[in-house]
């Protein structure tokens, strides 16, 4: 019960937590930030929610955005220009 109460409390410094969360997800957090993440963020409901949503946005960008492939004629044209440059 005590535990649950603690988790539901509004985060005291959410802006800072968001900053650290983004670094964690990007794999750019230093040791202090990683410790902060493990000791505070995963124990705070507001931060956990933010973290989960942020991760799924990253996932949506990676998986749902179509990656445009370079057309074959472009690749050929880049190659032939290279050959011309080498000869010239």
């Amino acid at each position: 019960m005590e535990e649950k109460k603690k988790k539901d409390k509004p985060c005291e410094d959410h802006e800072e937590c968001i900053r650290v969360l983004n670094l964690i997800i990007d794999g750019e957090a230093n040791e202090i930030e990683q410790n902060f993440f493990h000791t505070h963020i995963m124990d705070c409901m507001q931060c956990t929610h933010y973290y989960t949503v942020e991760q799924s946005i990253r996932e949506a960008i990676k998986k749902k955005l179509t990656k445009k492939e370079a057309p074959e004629d472009l690749i050929q044209s880049v190659r032939s220009k290279l050959k011309e440059s080498i000869k010239g």
Binding site: L23, K62, A70, L82
Partner: protein
């Protein structure tokens, strides 16, 4: 382009670098070009330009290093220096106002209001794409480089010629903006 370390490659070495280190990134380069120009022909021109410059300046590339970041940097410079001028991109919108809003106190309230994971999962690629494309070029760029292309902050700083602290803050703002767009979109589409 840095001039401090120049490498003299033989023609066959140049060709090998081009084939083995530069060309394998052409799909990523094209995708990025398309996402900043929104036009297939312009993207093709930009890719051509990037590869021509890559060849011209191949002496400043150290074989076996990060060719992808190097090419992205050339592409970014080409876009800014020539392409943008030629095409007279519409006057850049002043997003100062938007930025200051997202730096203000109100942002906490906006951010914490509910965007549900389920809503994001239900969205299709077009919806995510529209939200991303609606961001200002600078914000869109950092998200593409980081999330789609997997560049580190350090690589992004080098590609964009900005300090790493600016990469961090720009990404932070970009993410707040994207999140707000997605939330608005989710609301309007009835994902609740």
């Amino acid at each position: 382009m840095r001039k401090d370390c120049h490498h003299s490659y033989l023609p066959e070495e140049k060709e090998a670098i081009f084939e083995e280190e530069f060309l394998p990134h052409i799909h990523s380069i094209y995708n990025f070009a398309y996402r900043i120009t929104f036009n297939e022909d312009d993207a093709k021109d930009l890719v051509q330009e990037t590869y021509l410059k890559a060849y011209r300046f191949i002496g400043s590339f150290q074989k076996g290093t990060n060719a992808k970041a190097w090419l992205f940097r050339i592409l970014k410079n080409s876009f800014i220096n020539e392409f943008r001028k030629k095409n007279k991109e519409p006057v850049k919108i002043d997003y100062q106002e938007v930025e200051s809003f997202y730096n203000s106190e109100d942002v906490n309230q906006v951010i914490t209001s509910d965007l549900r994971v389920e809503a994001i999962k239900e969205m299709i690629g077009d919806e995510v794409s529209i939200a991303l494309n609606s961001l200002d070029m600078d914000f869109r760029t950092v998200i593409i480089l980081c999330d789609l292309e997997g560049f580190t902050y350090e690589e992004m700083a080098s590609i964009l010629d900005i300090p790493i602290g600016t990469v961090r803050s720009r990404l932070h703002r970009a993410r707040n903006l994207l999140r707000a767009k997605l939330r608005a979109y989710a609301g309007s589409m009835g994902y609740k």
